[in-house]
């Protein structure tokens, strides 16, 4: 019996789909059976990030309106045989999916998969309600910006009214130099306001954008900070306790020497 996790944020553009793709991929790397569901009907893009756009034949609306079986709509990932994607429809709108339809699909997927990761659309309307309908727990993604934290707070309030586990938090797109200068909210500031458990922090990296464009989730890379962050998050989901990444840049030899001799680096 699998677990359904919804990735949500309220605000758009904070990295829900990227987080879904990478957390899903990282879990698949750890040999878990994972299914990703894109519920952003009309604005689908999880398939693009996963590089599976060309393989779509049926979508979630086809399944709900019984034009195909669920198994027919699932797309197997190029890299892992135990990672699948249920794509959103691009031509319908959010009202094409119902909460009952979602519950049915998720119940069926839970038989076969360990983790079902649901990518939630921005906003708090029907699309959001559909996405969280069948979820056992929620991961809230926010960036260290006031507007994003405000929306995350609203979302957490809505989730708390449901019978779900306490949501967990991912702080995305951290820019270390801005945080140090106080131009961005501190990690502690964010946690103090939202007062939920922190699942992970992800540094803002150019590689994430590049990887999205290539259709290769960044979690597949070895040495990237964002990649390590996503894999750490996956390990925490599996119940391991992994310390938070340090935000400091890796210092070069020369800088190490400088700091050793008491120069300000």
């Amino acid at each position: 019996m699998g677990e359904a996790i919804v990735i949500t944020s309220g605000k758009g553009g904070v990295g829900k789909s990227t987080t879904t793709a990478n957390v899903g991929t990282a879990l698949a790397l750890m040999d878990k059976k994972v299914c990703l569901i894109d519920t952003d009907i009309g604005l689908r893009n999880l398939d693009v990030i996963m590089g599976l756009e060309n393989r779509i034949i049926y979508d979630i609306v086809d399944v709900i309106e019984e034009r195909c079986r669920l198994q027919q709509a699932l797309i197997q990932d190029k890299r892992f045989s135990h990672l699948s994607l249920l794509p959103a429809a691009q031509t319908s709108d959010k009202s094409a999916v119902t909460e009952e339809g979602m519950l049915k699909i998720i119940a069926e997927l839970k038989q076969d998969y360990d983790y079902i990761i649901i990518d939630c659309p921005a906003g708090i309307e029907q699309g959001f309600k559909n996405a969280i309908a069948g979820a056992d727990k929620a991961i809230v993604v926010t960036t260290p910006e006031k507007s994003s934290v405000r929306d995350a707070d609203r979302i957490i309030g809505l989730i708390e009214q449901r019978e779900m586990e306490r949501p967990q938090l991912i702080i995305n797109r951290i820019r270390n130099h801005m945080m140090k200068d106080g131009d961005m909210l501190d990690i502690d500031d964010v946690i103090q306001v939202l007062s939920i458990d922190l699942l992970g922090i992800v540094i803002d990296s150019d590689d994430v954008i590049k990887a999205s464009n290539d259709g290769e989730p960044v979690a597949l890379k070895n040495d990237n900070k964002a990649s390590i962050a996503y894999r750490n998050i996956a390990r925490r989901i599996l119940g391991e306790s992994v310390p938070l990444q340090t935000l400091e840049e890796n210092k070069g030899m020369f800088q190490k020497m400088k700091s050793l001799f008491g120069f300000k680096s």
């Binding site: 405000r150 707070d153 309030g157 007062s195």
Partner: protein, 232 residues
């Protein structure tokens, strides 16, 4: 004034410096009260010159009168413009009224985080154990005490109670509202303050924020508390 010497008189009139008191025996039936009130009022000597109407208090004792009956009594007494019913004085209130009074004067303690977009609205005084996040709002008809951080909006005395106060362990609100008065945070970024309270300065019609320690003085000034602490 023959009626007034009668043994089974229902209505007796007493004069005080604040006006007249009509004491209505609460054991008589309402019908008898009406009948006798008519007689009593008819026996009042009519003077031609226009005098100022005398203030009257209707003492009802343990009698419960409905709003309609109240209206009838008032109309009867005020009919000839000799009297003006200042107030009804009754020793009983209805169960609903008592319940409402209790609701408005009891302290509700609630522990939760009031998040953005959420409104916590209660009757009476509120003790919130938890934070009010930016964009969240707490409302109470009485006082608001917050054991936590106030970042959002707090509205005390929502039904027009100017004496309501707002106290918080950490105060950095978007807005404070007391009764119909509103004060908001300045446009520049501010650090919050610990252990503060807000109350209405009635002379300047402004909400003032001060240390929590001034609250006893404020409350003493705002309302005359009965009972309280005794210093051995």
């Amino acid at each position: 004034m023959k009626q007034m010497q009668n043994d089974n008189q229902i209505i007796s009139i007493k004069g005080t410096k604040d006006g007249l008191i009509f004491h209505i025996n609460d054991e008589a039936s309402y019908q008898d009260v009406i009948l006798q009130l008519e007689e009593v009022l008819a026996s009042v000597p009519h003077t031609d010159q226009q005098e100022k109407a005398a203030n009257v208090t209707l003492q009802l004792g343990y009698r419960h009168v409905s709003p309609e009956q109240k209206k009838q009594l008032r109309e009867m007494v005020e009919k000839d413009n000799h009297f003006y019913v200042e107030k009804f004085d009754s020793k009983v209130i209805s169960r609903e009224k008592a319940k409402q009074w209790f609701e408005e004067h009891s302290l509700k303690s609630i522990s939760q985080i009031v998040r953005s977009g959420q409104i916590l609205d209660i009757e009476g005084d509120l003790l919130l154990i938890g934070d009010v996040n930016p964009g969240g709002e707490v409302r109470a008809t009485g006082d608001i005490y917050i054991l936590g951080k106030l970042h959002g909006i707090a509205h005390a005395g929502t039904k027009g109670n100017d004496e309501a106060v707002i106290a918080a362990s950490y105060m950095n609100p978007n807005q404070l509202r007391i009764s119909q008065y509103i004060s908001r945070a300045p446009d520049y970024e501010t650090e919050g303050v610990y252990m503060e309270c807000g109350y209405l300065d009635k002379e300047n019609e402004k909400i003032v924020i001060d240390r929590l320690q001034v609250l006893p003085y404020v409350q003493r000034k705002l309302r005359k508390l009965k009972g309280g602490m005794y210093d051995g």
